[in-house]
Symmetry: C2
Subunit: 484 residues, 2 copies
């Protein structure tokens, strides 16, 4: 249905249209097309379709993003030439959902085949890009050649803890089966503030990103905390499979005392989710265990967090809405729910009549540097395993008035399913180091070794709709580099 | 010793020279002085002396900050006209300590009286500002007329928990006397990531800032967590008296994998503290109690944090260095230490041969709106009560490689001393609500009431040196505004 050649297993179908920030190799020669453009190696806003990154800055300069449809309501004050020439998506995120929808619809129109346009997405094909070969050559770059950057300046980053299975697993390991879930867990999305300075994009353009195994404080004797700690490389290096979303829209300022925040209602929250990425919340379990009481994880988490570079919109995910597998919250959700239990009704501010999730497959593979060709999938999970939705997370985050800005990143927490192979961390997969995780090369793991690459993937698939995928979130673990 | 008239009890003596960001009232008429300047109401970098804010942008444009002394080493690539016309201090913070020292010395020279210049600060008076009345009129504004802004864009904010007395007090209330301090506490500065979006400047220009009493989840029955929670206004509204510092200098990038971070050594950390402010970490105790296990405080803290707008430099505080009152860490500190105990030697990366603090008085007063004139001092504390120093906090923060950027803010944690009237929060002053705090108007408090203004002050005083103070950190509590 698109004039762009897109294979069936490609994450970036015409039904996806994710947003990201990319830069391109320097041109060896001028191609005769002249627009007042950025240098190719300057980061700018892009979308991805098929095997291409598409330069939105250039499409805007060529006038293809002007006169957007106002079907969806207010899109005043949107200046695509300015917004898409920025080195981050923050300006675009700062507009509103109507604008995101209108831009996405225009892009779909520009990529649609002419002949079957009427029945596709209710949109009419716009041939201005297809028929402009010089513009196509300048604006569309093979993904293999594109360097992806962090898609936004992340003002603040928060990590939730909203998978019931993960919270239960960790609870069993640390506190025993009877006290696995804390009493507050079913009443609010538990979360903590994280470190935005250490969020890095996944590798791109065929290059693997890297993170460094951290050194830090390790408890000397697990049975005698009074013996204190020692300094050294983390021995229990782990990943956490997560999906995170970027906040968009106008900050929630208090109308009376403008500078301070006011709570975001559930209805407002729906308009303030710009889109989703995969996230690896790298975790140093031994450091975490010693430091985390009573104020939560700190140096065990703040050294690195990796995200996939392409932001998948709620519009693209909407066809994959489903009930969660984690339980039915009182006060909302799919009528057809057939799950095993009825959980407490959340307080009114958290009740969502449309409570649900997205049916999005998630996987984690390990690729050891010792056997570069082999990749073993060690976890299959699904976004629908989340008990608290991203909308509920955003509402709760702001309930006391926390100011939520465009570009803020809120992560799901480790996404674990019910079965062993659905667990989203090695802590759970190896059950606290008590069982081996087998790799196809014959090696085994309990936690990560130096040189291991962790590769996360996520995608939605459904008959009649193009695949909506997240691309990859991957990085390799470099050896530790301790103080001399 | 300055030609500026400075009273003895003024926080901003010539020995202080703090940095901040201010804007000024629009001029009613041109004053005949012409420089390519910002509009008066545009925020720009300033210092404060006596009762004046001084526009550093204008001093730079007039050439007074050119050709700085390089006594202190490298100050290459410093462009004062650009740096000081910014609406935040981030650019200035991004230079290095040599530059901060050179700028401060130049400013002292410009404010020095001519006749006794030789013996003052080892600096020679520079009469170019004193003798330029039109420039003085344009660049020096009565503090009462200045609007102070957040001095930096704060990328990330962290709150530590480094007062032994505070940690012990809270531990006794929550876990009993025998388990008051957690076993990790004496081995590392415990801290957690906070919310930078909700940090606001104290009132300025004679205006009181305000924050709003938050609504959130409150536990229904303290004795039965299974009863869950209710939504409503915080009933146990509190302040926390803290001192926070801004990080400066170049980010600690890993030289191999440039994008990721490497640990900051203790020697490096000394060069990366730009300066200090007072901080009120507003805390909703009832919300905190229900939410904080196991990942730490979240909505109970992230709604508002107030800081004083003038950043006091380590150079200004240096004459007030002293031993801490909290104990002597093995491996470092003043030889003269005469404290009651010898505590565990910290791990090597945290050992500071110059371990110590600053002798800086701190106070908290309450001014109820019902009796606007009256202000009751309810707490006297001192920065020297901190067990972990800001240098140790910065080193530990980055031990696993966390990237520390100019403009990041790191807070001390509540600063409590040994005596009851030294406690830095109402939780401690009222001993968890079990005793009354008396106000001079006849009222009593256990926690804050609507309309109460909390006023924090901090200052260093010593014979032969001008007073080095922080100014005020204050804001008033507005009534809650719950969901309908
Ligand atoms: Ca996590
Ligand atoms: Ca605090
Ligand atoms: Mg992380
Ligand atoms: Mg706070
Ligand atoms: Ni200028």
């Amino acid at each position: 249905k698109s004039w762009v050649n897109i294979s069936d297993d490609c994450d970036f179908s015409i039904d996806n249209i994710p947003f990201g920030v990319g830069s391109f190799p320097k041109l060896s020669e001028s191609n005769g097309f002249s627009l007042p453009t950025l240098q190719p190696d300057a980061p700018r806003c892009c979308t991805a379709i098929g095997e291409y990154a598409v330069d939105l800055h250039l499409l805007a300069e060529a006038g293809l993003l002007d006169d957007l449809s106002r079907d969806e309501g207010n899109i005043e004050n949107f200046h695509p030439r300015i917004v898409f020439s920025q080195p981050t998506l923050n300006s675009f995120m700062s507009t509103n959902k109507n604008t995101w929808v209108a831009v996405r619809n225009r892009l779909i129109s520009l990529f649609l085949e002419d002949d079957n346009s009427k029945q596709d997405h209710g949109l009419v094909a716009d041939s201005r890009l297809r028929d402009n070969l010089p513009l196509r050559n300048l604006a569309m770059h093979p993904l293999q050649s594109v360097t992806c950057h962090l898609p936004a300046t992340i003002g603040d980053y928060t990590d939730f803890y909203s998978s019931r299975e993960h919270a239960t697993n960790v609870g069993i390991m640390f506190r025993g089966k009877d006290n696995a879930l804390q009493p507050n867990w079913l009443h609010m999305p538990i979360g903590y503030h994280g470190r935005s300075s250490s969020i890095f994009p996944s590798g791109s353009g065929g290059k693997m990103a890297s993170i460094r195994r951290p050194c830090g404080q390790l408890q000397l004797d697990a049975n005698d905390p009074l013996k204190g700690s020692t300094y050294g490389p983390c021995k229990l290096m782990d990943f956490e499979l997560e999906v995170a979303f970027f906040v968009g829209g106008s900050p929630n300022n208090d109308s009376v005392a403008k500078q301070i925040g006011r709570p975001i209602t559930l209805d407002e929250a729906k308009e303030r989710i710009f889109g989703y990425v995969l996230m690896n919340d790298w975790s140093a379990r031994d450091i975490q265990k010693w430091e985390y009481v009573p104020l939560g994880p700190f140096t065990s988490k703040n050294f690195a967090t990796t995200i996939s570079p392409w932001i998948v919109t709620p519009m693209a995910l909407e066809p994959f809405r489903c009930e969660t597998s984690a339980g039915k919250q009182g006060g909302g959700g799919f009528d057809t729910f057939s799950g095993p239990r009825e959980d407490p009704t959340p307080l009114e501010y958290l009740q969502d009549p449309n409570y649900g999730s997205y049916d999005s497959n998630l996987s984690v593979s390990i690729n050891p540097s010792s056997t570069p060709g082999t990749e073993t999938e060690i976890c299959k999970s699904n976004l629908k395993h989340m008990y608290w939705s991203s909308i509920q997370q955003l509402v709760h985050h702001s309930v006391t008035g926390c100011l939520m800005n465009p570009g803020d990143l809120l992560a799901s927490g480790t996404i674990s399913g019910k079965e062993e192979h659905n667990f989203g961390s090695m802590l759970e997969l190896s059950w606290n180091g008590s069982r081996d995780i087998k790799l196809s090369c014959g090696d085994t793991r309990k936690f990560l070794k130096d040189g291991d690459a962790v590769i996360m993937k996520g995608w939605c698939d459904k008959n009649g709709i193009g695949r909506v995928g997240f691309g990859e979130c991957s990085a390799r673990v470099l050896p530790a580099d301790p103080f001399p």
